[in-house]
């Protein structure tokens, strides 16, 4: 059997976590917010680990994502009830949370935030060492962790005519602001043929392709090889054959938003388009 996923070395982090879980279970000195924070961090760590696997487990990912959503909802309600900052960790902390974009999770809080938190929270002594090993997580970070693992599962696993791969223009505002970077990271993670085609835009509504008639590009090119590589997902025979022709187009997410980050991605796609054209034309 081939190996899968990454091996983790037992680290201080894991030993800390095991100790923390026991503390949670014995329910002695941990306050509720801290317990919640612990569970949240465990969830995010697991999701992060799953993202690094070739094929994350869908069932577990959904259960963990739901736990994060539950905690997120609770924290939102608390925030609504108490406008004064009880826990600055809840505030959008783009500066304090670098863990999600980078492969590893940084466990050390930037010193500024640690001081901020210690002003507001009423927990001390026993909980300080625990606090210092927990991440501060913002609402946006929770959302992006959830979307990122679920989107990964879709991309990697399902290549049958997926309407879900097409974030329409309406969906764009949903992504947190740092998605521009994330999309590029995701693209590097993509496997197989769809990796190259995944971020293509072949829709007449994009600005950068306005002057080009799509059909002209492909007019005299034999795309049968292109078709067979891509249009034969060995799945779901009951679907009507007429859909098959539309499949390649449907899988290309549109990026017809005018945001700068998306245009940057589209420009990179253009050079990939050239590269593909070279292969197809055989020049």
């Amino acid at each position: 059997m081939l190996g899968r996923g990454l091996k983790r070395k037992l680290s201080d982090y894991e030993e800390n976590m095991a100790g923390l879980s026991s503390a949670f279970d014995s329910s002695r000195s941990l306050s509720y917010p801290l317990k919640r924070q612990l569970v949240l961090n465990m969830c995010l760590t697991k999701l992060q680990t799953y993202k690094m696997l070739v094929e994350p487990n869908l069932h577990r990912s959904v259960l963990i994502a739901n736990t994060v959503r539950q905690i997120q909802e609770e924290m939102r309600q608390e925030n609504n009830q108490q406008p004064v900052n009880i826990c600055p960790g809840i505030a959008p902390a783009s500066h304090s949370f670098t863990g999600m974009e980078s492969p590893g999770i940084s466990l050390q809080l930037p010193s500024g935030v640690a001081q901020q938190e210690s002003h507001c929270c009423d927990l001390r002594s026993v909980e300080d060492p625990i606090e210092n090993s927990l991440l501060i997580v913002s609402d946006d970070d929770m959302s992006s962790a959830i979307s990122s693992i679920l989107k990964d599962l879709d991309f990697v696993e399902d290549i049958s005519p997926p309407t879900c791969l097409v974030p329409t223009g309406d969906d764009q505002p949903k992504f947190p602001e740092n998605t521009g970077l994330k999309l590029e990271d995701d693209r590097q993670d993509l496997k197989g043929a769809e990796c190259v085609f995944g971020s293509f835009e072949i829709s007449n509504s994009t600005s950068y392709l306005k002057d080009l008639a799509i059909d002209d590009i492909f007019e005299d090119i034999d795309t049968s090889m292109y078709d067979s590589d891509f249009c034969c997902p060995p799945l779901m025979p009951p679907r009507s054959p007429s859909l098959a022709a539309e499949e390649p187009l449907k899988t290309f997410p549109s990026c017809n938003s005018s945001s700068a980050s998306n245009i940057q991605i589209c420009r990179t796609d253009l050079s990939e388009l050239d590269h593909i054209m070279e292969i197809l034309v055989g020049s």
Binding site: M1, L2, R4, M17, A18, S21, S22, F24, D25, S27, K35, R36, L38, V39, M42, V54, E55, L58, H59, R60, V62, L63, A65, N66, T67, R69, Q70, I71, I146, S147, L150, K151, L153, D154, V156, E157, D158, I159, S160, T163, C164, P167, D171, K191, G192, A193, P233, P234, L235, M236, P237, P238
Partner: protein, 447 residues
Amino acid sequence: FLGAGGGNDIQWCFSQVKGAVDDDVAEADIISTVEFNHSGELLATGDKGGRVVIFQQEQENKTQSHSRGEYNVYSTFQSHEPEFDYLKSLEIEEKINKIRWLPQKNAAQFLLSTNDKTIKLWKISERDKRPEGYNLKEEDGRYRDPTTVTTLRVPVFRPMDLMVEASPRRIFANAHTYHINSISINSDYETYLSADDLRINLWHLEITDRSFNIVDIKPANMEELTEVITAAEFHPNSCNTFVYSSSKGTIRLCDMRASALCDRHSMLFEEPEDPSNRSFFSEIISSISDVKFSHSGRYMMTRDYLSVKIWDLNMENRPVETYQVHEYLRSKLCSLYENDCIFDKFECCWNGSDSIVMTGSYNNFFRMFDRNTKRDITLEASRENNKPRTVLKPRKVCASGKRKKDEISVDSLDFNKKILHTAWHPKENIIAVATTNNLYIFQDKMN
């Protein structure tokens, strides 16, 4: 709990154990499914290495009236091989997730076995005769020189040593994007369903190049996904009815006559949450790991992380019976979440008369609940109790406080020794219990 003695109580005795004795478990030997056939004469196991081993019960010996026949290896074959999906750059595990037997129609036996992606129909047949005395061939198969053939001779069948052959008759592939968790044969014995995390497909046993999608819970946007399918089964008598369970603790009963795509359930079984037991892990532990109809078809049983529930098909709003499997784990959920044990998928099964249900636990313990007497028992599958006809000693876990003699404390439990797969003979009190890499067979004491 059930003790030894008592008129109607079953006294379980060790009968056999199959598998390696080493503590070092080879990963390929990890048992992943156990299933008796419809008569109980055959017992199939599947393992992580993609192999199926079938045991056959010896015919009862008239002189040995104190025990039933032993199970011996009947056939071993490689059902699935590891595959690599080049398009998605993914390895497809050869681990056998489920085996289901077809009822016997002729001399051969048929079973369905499945890994994450592909279901196969296997024919297991016996050969105990072979033709001898060909006119045109030598005994070793070489053709004779035609000029030496001067007489006509017809081959006759002569007995030979029994050979059991397994051959794949159908391969049902390429219909599942996600991992198959269940297969279930319809009572019409012509169709069957296969379920993965998000979809359920209906197949005809004769047709491999197409299947019908009957349930699809995949949302248009995967980010909205909050629930997956965890198990599915056809009703034992009603060929248009099936159920599927979810990761949110619900069971949906669907009628295939209602519409082609059964996305809208006919009935939804769900128990309201007990607010006093609410925790961060409530949803995770409510995820149903197995669903099984009773033989009668009147009830169904579900297994979630801490309990077994019996549902009357006429009552959707709560189960009629709930049995706690290992309630002492409720106070350990964070640790069990941390080490991923909370995601273990335990199966459950009914006895032939639907009066007792059984399921596994940790430390190689397994539990039985008598629905009539309301008594339960905890037993252990261990080589230490391996004298045939010795009655197994009941076990008890001490949840808290002072541990009595012979009790084991929660913290001493070995969470690596889990019994996920158990099976009960359809007619007799014979059970098959799988530890990580060993198969135990227990029988009731016959007097």
